[in-house]
């Protein structure tokens, strides 16, 4: 059976510029009913119909899980990305009918935690908006450390401080404020769980320091929110369906496979969940693996690829699809 999610027919109910880079989008159900309840950390996949192209990108839900009249997501404009964020910023207006997936949570709170220690970098703040709202409503113990480039780009920093007071600490790059990570990680009470969402470098830094300081791996949770990266176009043969397809420079391999009418399962479209894992039958060239699912050994073997985020350069690639 398909492992995809059920779709929701929604209408854009509001579009709110938050700062120079980030815009917030509000969705309501077209039939006027309530949206499904979700848990903090969940994302939805937004289908963007841009002419004859369809992009599907995941975005964290950032509203309170207690309010299901609308869903809100915040999107940072990426001027050198594949165009999904530019499409959302430039073409999506209130009243537009769109399709989104049911919520999926791959960055769930561990509710056993005595304390939730959250580290956010930049737009990685969005899942914590929902998680802090959920925890605050239930009297949960949390602390959020949020790094942003400047105060004006500190998306929702003001809202978070207003809601949660000194449970939120801000660090501004332009003022050279830095998290004293080792001190922070060494002074937590027993039973603390650590959550990190932000740029890959930040996630790796936090995971490395946590490991070095003896945090058990099962207490360290992270979400990479990397969207598929653009790259050089390439051709692929799909052996099972007997097609040869062209992957455009701004298109992901998964999108190109879907455009050819083949529907591999997917959930996250961000190289994390493992659903779209695809076997490689043969290749002559070089893989550009961008996923966090396959092991290094898998990457070296040339036998598997995650088509949602990874690409290929070379003469030929044949996939079992």
């Amino acid at each position: 059976m398909s492992t995809g999610t059920t779709k929701l027919d929604v209408v854009v109910s509001d579009v709110v510029p938050v700062n120079d880079l980030v815009t917030r989008f509000h969705f309501r159900r077209r039939d006027g009913e309530l949206l499904p309840t979700f848990s903090g950390g969940a994302h939805v996949v937004v289908e963007m119909r841009d002419g004859d192209r369809t992009r599907l990108n995941p975005y964290s839900l950032m509203g309170s899980p207690l309010d299901t009249r609308e869903y809100t997501i915040s999107i940072r404009r990426d001027d050198v990305g594949r165009g999904g964020s530019l499409f959302m910023h430039r073409q999506v207006k209130p009243g537009l009918e769109m399709v989104i997936s049911y919520p999926v949570n791959l960055f769930s709170l561990d509710l056993r935690a005595r304390k939730h220690l959250m580290l956010a970098g930049g737009i990685g703040i969005t899942p914590f908006m929902a998680q802090t709202a959920q925890l605050a409503g239930a009297g949960g113990n949390f602390e959020l450390h949020y790094t942003c480039r400047t105060a004006s780009l500190g998306t929702y920093a003001d809202v978070l401080q207003q809601r949660h007071g000194n449970r939120v600490r801000l660090y501004h790059d332009d003022r050279e404020e830095r998290i004293d990570l080792d001190r922070l990680l060494s002074t937590q009470p027993l039973g603390t769980h650590l959550y990190v969402c932000g740029p890959a470098g930040m996630i790796n830094w936090v995971r490395d320091r946590a490991a070095a300081l003896g945090w058990p791996p099962e207490t360290v949770h992270f979400e990479h929110f990397a969207a598929p990266q653009p790259g050089a176009p390439f051709d692929v043969t799909l052996a099972v369906s007997g097609r040869t397809i062209h992957v455009g420079g701004q298109q992901s391999l998964l999108e190109a496979i879907e455009a050819a009418g083949v529907d591999p399962p997917y959930l996250c479209r961000g190289g994390v969940c493992g659903q779209c894992e695809t076997n490689v039958i043969s290749y002559d060239g070089k893989f550009i693996h961008n996923d966090h699912w396959l092991s290094e050994e898998d990457h070296r073997s040339g036998c598997k690829i995650m088509p949602c985020v990874s690409r290929f350069e070379g003469k030929s690639l044949v996939l079992e699809r």
Binding site: M1, T3, T6, T37, S39, S108, L267
Partner: protein, 346 residues
Amino acid sequence: MGITFRKETFRDDFSFRNSPEHIRRFPFPFNEDAYMYAVNIEPHVVGPKGSVLENLIDVDEHYVAEMQDRALVLAEDPLRCQSLPHMTLAGWDLLELLMEQQALGYPEHFTLSRDGDRWRWINRPLGIDDTFTFGDTSTLPYGPMEYITRQSQGDFCILDQRDGNLWMDAGMVTTQADWSLDFDIGMNFFEWHAPVPLAHEKGIFTRALKFLTNIQQGKPARRLNWTMTINPRLDTSPENYHKWGPDRATVTPENVGDKVHLRVELQSFWRLPRSNGIVFPIRCYLIKMDELVTQPKWARRLHRVIRDLPEELATYKGLTRYRPALVEWLSKLDDGSPTSPGFGPD
């Protein structure tokens, strides 16, 4: 037209019976004349009218009697219902799911009205009319999971999902086929399945776990499982083995039809929205051989399945002692003619 609830018992005088309509809707678990494990999971979608799948949470003529039996079990052994501290939110998820589904499927028996977090729940068969604050445990007589599962047929396991595994961290288990929540509480998916023979070698649990951890909200799944029970006893727990274990020595050629019951579990799997846990309802259906063989196709097929069952499975399911008497009894109802495809009666 509502359900007529039977007055009956699952202990002592064992007055449990299925009405003729309920015999025909019994979820017979064999679609061919042989049985072996398979990952027989399918989407849990609404099925034909008049079947146990007519509603995703089934309420039937045994509802009131089953809830009374559950209350008796809990009075003797409160540890049949346990919820680790981090599972309260999942309990509220389950309360919402069961209230919504029962009210949707059986509006003449159950009504749920909501005004924000102020909820009113009317359960007419059990004479309950409670108003409470959703999310505030102090406004209910029990924790949310215990409250609603004292009013819902079937056992319920709530599984926490973390570290790529599922953990048995809460449940209401009083109608089980020889396993214990008190023993399994806190175990992960591989730990609590450790006693099952043959399936590990086939890699079934690794695949099943991968499937279950990817169950999505709004897309529940289901499977059937089966065993056999002597006398219509819902509570065949390890804790009460001394009460039901010896029953297996009481089967004679004369009483097979009355004493031996096919026990089918309709297991479903649902993602819970607030907690991101999974609830696993295990709904038990019982039918005695005399009732089952009123459908000639089922009589022929069950004979062939039990006769040819691999020895390990017969042992695991506890059939060894009375299997010869049962096969002999069923063989008289099997003329060797072919059975039609599918689960249902002819």
